[in-house]
Symmetry: none
Subunit: 205 residues, 4 copies
DNA sequence: CATGAATGAGTCTTCATTCAT
DNA sequence: AATGAATGAAGACTCATTCAT
């Protein structure tokens, strides 16, 4: 948590520090970004940095949490009202929404990527925690789908959630980060969902 | 690539360096393992290290490539003769084989995990290259499955390969690393394959 | 010397600053206590500190001098009227009085201890000065004892004063600081005084 | 403990580091002497320092222990053979011997002084330990004196030892450090011993 | 080739004090 | 006078790599 001193800063100074730090961390990676890099780029004295944040991780987790909140505010409404449709059928729309968010907050979004690129233990713990939270949401929504008769009764919801999430992290995140187009990403998603919905096995084989 | 000097070393000295280094890197992580740690644990002079390897990364990539080769030698036969069965049906057996290998060469196996824990650019490139190689194998085998009429004709083989691979890396690797039992891992696999084979959508919904 | 600004402060604010600072310095040691610690604990703005005191040492020396004065007010009456008794015989009573004072003003008392725990040159000078002052008192009183025929005529008063003082600082201070009981401290004193009064050499040896 | 690397150094390089460091610490005080000061004065790279010593304290304790050993080699013979005389009568000779040693190894000797000038906890522990060791020697020798009938049977040996030691540390050390002459120091000692041997109380008073 | 000492840029962090409002 | 942000020199320590023997 940043100190009160940081929160007291004039808004544009605060914003500047946030943006510059985000850009730096995205460019160099969390591990490789040093406090020196940050203070130089932000043009603030080294001492000030430590008057704002406990340390590098404090800054990082602050930035990330902001992101999370922004993202949640953006996406939550979708999750909360499926309007009688199946989550599995709407999945593509969720991806689309994430994408919209990512397009608008690219820097902030990429930051989440750093969670997968570091060896820092504290950061790793944080990532694990966030993943568990997301998986829970998936599990809930999929359970609803089963209850509503959209999915086969015997489906293992936990495994399905993990499958969706794994693809999300490994392929979609990656594609976004690498600059894939909306079309590419949505096609990939549709295709994947199709496989999962209808299966790949030829009948009678 | 290690220098000729390294290759000329007596076999048991070479093996010792490899084993000790692997153990260290697995325990501490690639980034956190210092050359000091290595030379101390291996009981070789600091200077020798740089006469054997260009730098820390050179050692790492050498170890990893050895691992790859060992693993390939172990697993390749399976891929090459499906004996008239579908890859998708045998997938569980491949996982089982991987598991057998991992159990027997745990240290060597875990090393691959480091690929996902490091921000070092060269390491990342390496990982990407390895992933592409594995994906290619999957694609080939799945294409065969389609040609042999085991899978629906319209299946997007590329996406399917990615889906399998994502789950493999994100869930299975993780479970192995965390010490899951064979049973747990195979059950998870079976469950996932079932979803993919038969789909999750309730008919008529 | 504190600034006029400090003296103008409302009495309870002044007292609060003094007490909190003393507690901190006693707990952490003068060197280890930072101005940050002080302003945080006192709940005063950082800038105010420097409007009250020139610097950290200025505060410390002010606190110490206050202590000295309080202690003197407390103990002086004893020194000034020996009521016809020898100082050497009353020494135990002085220690008792010091002890009483220390018990009642432990925080203030301990502060003096910091004088012996710091390498700061100014602090050292201060300590030396205070010691010289105390030694002077001892010398005066012992000289009186000689004049009054309580002590042998040939006794080197200067050395005797130093001997008493050395023991006082090295053993008694220490014991008080470490939480020795009154009994322990007075016994130690009596024993020491006995040695000095009657000597240790066996007659005829 | 210095590392093997340090011990492997050419003798004159080792000696140089020791001497320069001792001088520095004596001049600036242990607390104020920084590793930077040391490497600059010794003209060795910063990294080398940490290849020789764990940290500043490691160096200091090494220097001090060397000193201790040298001093012990020098003084021990005296303690071990009192040749039928009383320790209390020979005390002056011990001080003389210490003085001789100090004169010849002034730098090394002064170093011991730093023990009393620092707030460093580790150093303080060390000092306490050393003091206890010295006190033990005093107690032993004085106990012998009592047993041999040189001192009154009822003398509290512990208190006497502490008295001698306190004076030693507080007055003699100080005088040596401040550059007192042999004569001054020995006179002071004789005078103090006289007081302790024969007491100061006028008979019949 | 083996050995292990040499190197110094770079890391995080602290803190007394000054400055601007 | 009160406030609290600004400042940057300085501290301890690390480590990959090179050098000299």
């Amino acid at each position: 948590m940043p100190t009160q001193t940081f929160y007291n800063l004039p808004k544009n100074k605060k914003k500047n520090i946030e943006n510059v730090a985000i850009k730096l961390i995205n460019d160099l990676g969390y591990d490789k970004t040093t406090v020196s890099d940050i203070v130089k780029a932000c043009q603030i004295p080294r001492g000030s940095f430590y008057q704002y944040f406990d340390n590098k991780f404090d800054l990082f987790s602050y930035l990330l949490e902001s992101k999370q909140q922004e993202e949640m505010t953006f996406i939550k409404p979708l999750y909360e009202d499926l309007a009688g449709e199946a989550f599995i059928d709407l999945y593509k729309d969720f991806v689309q929404a994430s994408l919209d968010f990512a397009r608008q907050h690219l820097d902030v979004y990429q930051l989440g990527f750093q969670l997968y690129q570091t060896h820092d233990e504290t950061v790793n713990d944080m990532r694990q925690h966030m993943e568990e939270k997301k998986l829970d949401i998936y599990r809930d929504l999929l359970t609803q789908d089963v209850e509503n008769g959209y999915l086969k009764a015997g489906v293992n919801v936990d495994v399905l959630a993990k499958l969706l999430y794994a693809f999300n992290v490994k392929e979609l995140y990656h594609l976004i980060y690498e600059g894939g187009t909306d079309r590419e990403i949505l096609d990939l998603t549709t295709c994947m969902i199709d496989i999962i919905k209808y299966g790949v096995k030829k009948e009678g084989s």
